[in-house]
């Protein structure tokens, strides 16, 4: 549902076309793998066929002898410097960074999962590089391996990391634990409990990983890769992987074919940099889709139990969350994602007593990482079912139960020292309920539906950050400059990975400076040009980078007004700027174009020249939480267990939709990914060997347009005073409510709950059997 454009604005609130849309649609956009540098070599990586094996010896002589091979490197050739793949971790405060395990090297001396990186080749072309891989001889001593995080905790389990006494990768106590849990649960009228686990959803970005690295004659490294946070990647490369300093790294981000959190981690950049260093030539490292599936990124599998205590009047008395995270072979994002899971899961409902604890465990599974929602879709799947169970125990409507217990303005946000500024959650719940037809379709607990095809409705709510203020470094600097023709360049550092941020920032800057949208160019993708920013994650770019852009734009406008006043010979107070023209508010016929002002500033032959520009900054310890309610109506076939989703409703507390079409697209895309997470997407790992079985799009099933139900997006606009024109974040949120809303709808339809994702027909049928219903 597109809201009416706000007439007080020229650009904001309008569904304007994104600046990159034509290049993406026509194929003109250049991605990392499209770039070719003179003298460039192609790099490929040799991966381990064993889940756990000591590398006894590697013979590279035959590979090196192959004509066209420039270098073959192994663990013996790389710096003995541990790092974490999580580049985002660079934004952690120092005390928190210390709990990140720096357990990763450019190439491993021990294989810890099938797909671990053992050696790498640079050659004149892909064909030679791959022939060379075939010629590398590795002698492995195969070690016992462990693939289940609970098994990994058992005494005597194989230890994944040398020098560690066990597989406990880390423990995190929720920082806002409070109260006496046992006492609170004991005195509660009801206690609801739900346990379950999520799947290792793949980010499945369309563009496979690729990176180019090149060192210049002064020892300065340039990297081209699809990073979501180039400035932090620059630091990680310059300070952790190599010891050359941030200034010796330049990071260029070409067009990016999707990220979904995967690009908050190093991909193949460190290997590319190492091969380029050894050969003295630019090297482009490429991977296959199968390698990506067997590799270094997926949602983290989390096994959780949540208990919710409720009082006589249906008020929540206590919430406990217990999380066991399978880090996989390397720590990567598993600590931060477990912490953010508790933060968002325990942060949505009001509760006097809170207890959260997470344990991260190493296994010989592929390395997990962060993915869209970053802990929230994991925690919400459990919490939102526990809330429905609690509502049922109190005999309350799930809508009323949530309205009664959800946090609101003035109460602590998910990062508790901060208070919620604005919260349109009640409105989201009410409008969402109307859109799904809740009052007509929800017939009370135990409605006892009959027949082969049974319909049900379910809901879920969530809160998510709009920025990382409070828990990560959170600031951004934008530069805006006016050219002679009155057009402007806005230099900022988000990652445009398909979400439309370049256009949204241009809309904000255009509105703020009084320019036309088409006259603002968003310049990004080169750390030598842009100023520091922590990158695109935490649903922050519109909010945080938008605030920096708006600050810069308003300063540009002030300079324009001041110079225009002198040109017009009037007081600056009475002037305004809109659509590229400065005019007197009292008499709009008095005015001058921004182009004339800008031109006069540069072509000034006296002593008052000025290239009009300004820097703008956002820094905050607040993350401006956004809220959302999701609803699903489903029909389950109790003979096949097949769930047909009839409709999804997503009502989001957007503050202000800078570009309603982009926001709707973002939420619909999130819903599609959420539906895949709910019903089909599953990275299946063979329990005996640790091999990823679903390692292609033929076996890892994402939904296509043919599988999508109607999705109704409702944008609830209650401008937040801290956001640019009142905007809050949205990027990650569309995915979160879908699985829990469907799970709750399944219970409404057929009286069963499935405890693991995805909710497949096989599991539904099994649950129906156990319940004594169905065929």
């Amino acid at each position: 549902m597109t809201n009416e454009p706000h007439s007080e604005f020229s650009s904001v609130g309008k569904s304007l076309a994104r600046p990159d849309v034509a290049a993406k649609a026509t194929g003109a956009a250049r991605f990392s793998a499209d770039i070719a540098l003179p003298g460039m070599l192609i790099g490929r990586i040799l991966t381990s066929p064993h889940a756990h094996a000591r590398i006894v010896a590697i013979d590279t002589s035959r590979a090196k002898a192959l004509p066209g091979v420039a270098a073959v490197i192994t663990h013996a050739d790389v710096p003995k410097r541990g790092f974490t793949r999580s580049v985002m971790a660079e934004g952690l405060p120092p005390f928190a960074y210390e709990t990140e395990n720096l357990d990763q090297y450019i190439l491993s001396d021990k294989a810890r999962y099938i797909g671990d990186w053992v050696a790498a080749v640079a050659a004149v072309d892909l064909y030679v590089a791959e022939r060379a891989l075939d010629l590398i001889e590795v002698e492995y001593e195969v070690l016992p391996a462990v693939f289940d995080p609970e098994d990994a905790l058992a005494p005597g389990a194989p230890v994944v990391h040398k020098g560690w006494k066990d597989n406990v990768a880390g423990v995190i106590e929720h920082p806002f634990n409070r109260g006496d849990l046992d006492a609170a649960l004991a005195s509660s009228a009801h206690v609801a409990e739900f346990s379950g686990r999520n799947s290792r959803q793949k980010q499945a970005h369309m563009e496979p990983d690729a990176a180019i690295a090149s060192w210049d004659d002064k020892g300065r490294l340039t990297v081209w890769s699809p990073s979501q946070n180039a400035h932090l990647a620059k630091k990680a490369m310059g300070r952790r992987v190599f010891d050359i300093g941030e200034g010796n790294v330049r990071w260029i981000t070409p067009a990016v074919g999707g990220g979904f959190g995967a690009r908050l981690s190093f991909g193949v950049e460190p290997v590319a940099a190492m091969l380029a260093k050894v050969t003295g030539r630019p090297v482009k490292v490429l991977v296959t889709r199968e390698e990506d599936f067997n590799g270094w990124n997926s949602r983290t599998e989390q096994r959780q139990t949540i208990r919710v205590g409720v009082g006589e009047a249906g008020e929540i008395t206590a919430i406990e969350q217990d999380v066991l995270s399978d880090s996989g072979a390397y720590f990567s994002h598993s600590g931060t994602i477990s912490a953010v899971n508790m933060q968002s899961t325990l942060g949505v409902m009001r509760s006097p007593v809170v207890r959260g604890k997470a344990l991260m465990v190493y296994t010989n599974n592929p390395t997990a990482s962060g993915m869209r929602g970053y802990g929230n879709p994991e925690g919400s799947f459990i919490l939102q079912q526990a809330l429905d169970i609690a509502a049922e125990k109190c005999g309350m409507d799930p809508v009323d139960f949530r309205l009664k217990n959800a946090r609101g303005p003035g109460e602590p946000s998910m990062w508790e020292p901060q208070a919620i500024t604005t919260c349109a959650l009640p409105e989201c719940i009410r409008r969402g309920a109307v859109a799904i037809g809740w009052d007509q379709k929800w017939h009370g607990w135990g409605a006892g539906k009959e027949g082969r095809y049974r319909r049900g409705v379910g809901m879920s709510i969530m809160t998510h950050a709009s920025g990382a203020g409070g828990f990560l470094l959170e600031h951004s600097t934008a530069v805006m400059k006016l050219d002679e023709d009155g057009t402007a360049s806005l230099s900022v550092s988000p990652c445009e990975m398909g979400q439309g941020i370049l256009g949204v920032l241009a809309q904000i800057a255009a509105e703020g400076a009084g320019l036309r949208y088409e006259d603002v160019r968003t310049v990004t993708g080169d750390t030598d040009v842009t100023l520091f920013d922590i990158g695109t994650h935490a649903s922050r770019s519109t909010y945080a980078i938008g605030n920096a852009a708006l600050d810069a734009a308003r300063k540009v406008k002030a300079i324009v007004v001041e110079r225009a006043a002198r040109m017009l010979g009037v007081e600056s107070e009475g002037l305004d700027v809109r659509d590229g023209r400065v005019f007197a508010v009292a008499d709009s016929s008095v005015g001058v174009s921004v182009a004339e002002v800008a031109h006069a500033g540069i072509y000034e032959y006296g002593t008052d020249a000025r290239h009009i520009m300004a820097t703008g900054k956002h820094q905050s310890v607040m993350h401006c939480p956004n809220f959302q309610a999701g609803f699903a109506e489903i029909e389950v076939d109790v003979e096949t267990g097949v769930i047909k989703v009839l409709k999804l409703v997503i009502a989001h507390d957007i503050g202000r939709a800078i570009n309603p079409l982009t926001v709707e697209g973002c939420l619909e895309g999130g819903a599609a990914q959420g539906l895949g997470y709910a019903l089909t997407e599953d990275l299946v790992i063979d329990k005996g060997t640790g091999k990823v079985v679903s390692d292609s799009f033929a076996t890892y099933k994402m939904l296509s347009a043919l599988d999508m139900p109607e999705v109704e997006v409702i944008l609830v606009e209650e401008p937040d005073p801290t956001g640019p024109f009142g905007a809050k974040g949205v990027g990650e949120t569309g995915i979160t409510n879908v699985a829990p809303a469907i799970a709750n709808a399944l219970y409404d339809a057929a009286g069963v709950r499935v405890h693991s994702l995805p909710i497949t027909p096989e599991k539904v049928l099994e649950a129906l059997r156990a319940h004594g219903a169905g065929a």
Binding site: E290, T699, K701, M702, D707
Partner: protein, 300 residues
């Protein structure tokens, strides 16, 4: 894992005779649409030294009805899935086959992949195979200097194994004219619309005075090859048609399969779904053949 194919020789013979001399089913492989073969070559599941393209052979891309040979449908080895699906002869005369192909939603696969190639892959999950089983199709295979003709049921020998021997090529699939008054139904369960079947079922039935006069039931993805449920067919021919007969036939059909658990589903689920799909398909086909309206379907 590799991005690039290993080097191979590429031949483009102009006749079936030349092609048959070249292919040996192992080191030298035939290529029709290449949808399956090229992917397997990249994954190194197949590493042929010679790839023999059939594309330059004239006279293999037909989909036509042979008016003289009893109105049978002839599908040449180069006819694409899309071509068969859209052929008016097929949609009118053998709608079951069009329905089965329509369940393959990947348009790229259908415009590149051939129907014969789909069979030659030898996968038990083929959507085309059950329909051809139910329609009683035959497969023509050319060898060096000879040609044989086998029932489609005898074509599938095991997962990835077909009756095609070294120095043989399939030239045609022949589907006989549909029994008078018969109706068919194809049903498929899969994770997503574009996925390979967990289980698929094709049935063809015709009725005479309230009893099946013709019944063929074929099931895919539930055994090492697509299978015909012969015991279930016999039961249908014996018993009066009623919902209980459909259910009994479905139970009998479930005894003809030997499903496994894999990345797509579990053995248990597949066995259960055979019962549901066979019953549903029979019921819907019976409806199509007019039996539920009290007609015996003769004029359908």
């Amino acid at each position: 894992m590799h991005r690039a194919l290993l080097p191979f020789e590429f031949s483009e013979p102009a006749s079936v005779e030349e092609a048959v001399a070249l292919v040996d089913g192992g080191r030298a492989r035939a290529l029709a649409g290449g949808v399956d073969l090229v992917l397997k070559m990249r994954l190194r599941q197949e590493t042929p030294e010679r790839v023999v393209s059939l594309q330059k052979i004239a006279g293999l891309d037909h989909v036509r009805v042979d008016a003289h040979g009893g109105g049978a449908l002839h599908i040449g080895a180069l006819a694409t899935l899309r071509q068969v699906e859209q052929s008016a002869a097929v949609t009118q005369g053998w709608p079951l086959l069009a329905e089965a192909i329509a369940s393959i939603v990947s348009m790229q696969t259908k415009v590149m992949g051939t129907l014969v190639g789909n069979l030659c892959v030898g996968t038990p999950a083929s959507d085309v195979a059950p329909a051809l089983f139910a329609l009683g199709a035959r497969v023509k295979i050319a060898g060096v200097g000879d040609e044989r003709d086998i029932a489609v049921e005898d074509f599938f020998l095991g997962p990835g194994v077909t009756a095609v021997r070294p120095h043989e090529l399939v030239t045609e699939v022949v589907v006989p004219a549909r029994p008078v008054g018969s109706a068919g139904r194809f049903l498929k369960l899969s994770k997503t619309a574009d996925d390979i079947a967990k289980v698929n079922v094709a049935v063809s039935v015709a009725f005479s005075r309230g009893t099946c006069a013709h019944a063929r039931i074929a099931i895919g993805s539930a055994a090492p090859t697509p299978v015909r449920a012969v015991a279930a067919e016999e039961l249908l021919l014996r018993e009066d048609w009623c919902p209980a007969t459909a259910k009994a036939a479905a139970e009998a059909a479930a005894r003809s399969v030997r499903p496994i658990s894999d990345v797509r589903s579990t053995a248990d689920y597949r066995a259960e779904m055979v019962k549901v799909l066979v019953r549903d398909a029979l019921t819907q086909a019976a409806d199509g053949a007019g039996v539920l309206d009290g007609h015996d379907g003769k004029e359908a």
